[in-house]
């Protein structure tokens, strides 16, 4: 295993131009304006939209990992402490013995989550972002160098614990699973509508602690249905494994479908364990 650092892909290829281009000189009296637009013959496919570029990179990753190598990729997102690692550990434990599993785990710092995954005997790459609050497609690309994609059936990607930034950075997975927990407060869903809208399925974890922390778990489920209509929702207590089976079956269904999980079908809602 090696550590992949955030800066490895953030060096612009045209660094050497920057100092000259943005250097301070005497201001010119007249300025020209270069306007990107439809009449610009040099316009790139993404039209100088940097977020569209990240999305295009994610599509390339998806094409390579999922379609060329037949690897099932699921991304897990959510706040630090929501239970992402524990949930993926439960999924790894219930997998068939011959399933070849890899995990890319993102954290700002430290080796704690990677160490837990290694104890399960799966291939692990730890991506410490340093200061970045999310994984981006370039970091996944770097991390893939550690894996033999021909020798993988499943790749789990655990994003950095964050409820805001990952929304704009898809990573090429078949589905993005957002994990929230009752201990974050039962208003956590409505506080983060955009991230729910960017994901394909949701987990409300630590269901066993709802009463202890005074969280109304039904309200959380109603909020999910409100901000992301039709989103598949699972209630789990990952520490004990309760409710993990329906989530695992759902993932198996997406895997067996052989294609991507497109949107949220109307009416396909809550999966009660």
């Amino acid at each position: 295993m090696r550590h992949v650092h955030a800066h490895s892909t953030h060096r612009p290829p045209i660094d050497h131009l920057f100092a000259a281009l943005f250097g301070r000189r005497e201001a010119s009296p007249v300025a020209r304006t270069h306007r990107f637009g439809h009449d610009d013959a040099a316009e790139t496919e993404t039209g100088d939209d940097v977020l569209a570029e990240f999305r295009a990179q994610a599509r390339d990753l998806h094409e390579r990992i999922v379609h060329e190598h037949g690897v099932f990729v699921a991304e897990f997102l959510g706040a630090t402490g929501s239970g992402k690692t524990t949930l993926v550990e439960r999924l790894i434990e219930r997998a068939p013995a011959d399933e070849r599993i890899g995990v890319i785990v993102g954290d700002v710092a430290g080796d704690d989550d990677a160490s837990r995954y290694r104890d399960h005997g799966v291939a692990v790459t730890n991506v410490t972002t340093g200061k970045e609050c999310h994984l981006d497609p370039g970091l996944i690309e770097d991390a893939l160098a550690d894996f033999d994609l021909h020798a993988l059936d499943t790749l789990y990607v655990e994003n950095v614990g964050n409820m805001v930034c990952p929304a704009d950075f898809p990573l090429g997975a078949q589905l993005r699973v957002l994990v929230v927990s009752t201990t974050e407060g039962d208003d956590v869903v409505r506080k983060h509508p955009l991230l729910f809208q960017a994901c394909d399925a949701a987990v409300v974890n630590k269901a066993d602690l709802a009463d202890a922390v005074g969280a109304d778990i039904d309200r959380m489920a109603a909020d999910v249905a409100d901000v992301a209509p039709g989103m598949d929702l699972f209630r789990t207590s990952a520490r004990d494994g309760d409710g993990v089976e329906p989530l695992a079956s759902f993932l198996d269904g997406v895997r067996a479908g052989g294609h991507d999980h497109h949107g949220h079908p109307h009416g396909a809602d809550e999966h009660l364990g």
Binding site: H10, P12, P13, I14, L17, F18, A19, A20, L21, F22, G23, R24, R25, A27, S28, P29, V30, A31, R32, T33, H34, R35, F36, D40, A42, G47, D48, D49, V50, L51, A52, E53, K131, E132, C133, H134, D136, V164, C165, A167, D168, F169, P193, L194, L195, Q197, D226, V227, A228, P229, G230, M231, G263, H264, H266
Partner: protein, 134 residues
Amino acid sequence: MHELSVAEALLDHAAAAAADHDHDAARVEAITVELGAATHVNPTQLRFCIETVAEATFDADLTVHIDLVDPRATCECGWAGDPPSFEGAAAVVPTARCPECGGPTEFTRGTECRLASVTVPDTPATTHATDTED
């Protein structure tokens, strides 16, 4: 703080456009960014990040214009229009719920963060004459 990576990517584009042989500019004075309301990018932080990267790294004095783009969305039921926003948010946060049928919508506008224009000095870096306006 994902605005920093977005800022770096935008400055990449600005540098490439200025250095393009048709423009051949020696430096960049201003950039305009079109930023969609359905993104997670905070416009105030984005402006700060662009200015800071340009200033701290390259000693530049760059003017940054950010134009906010209102979201548009469509639904399978046939509805298309301006999506309603969540109440009480400090910024415009559009919902992905169809106001007609309650189903999920797709954003057709408002997910962009696009370098719309780059302002460069009138005098090209090299001596040959070029048009001053595109």
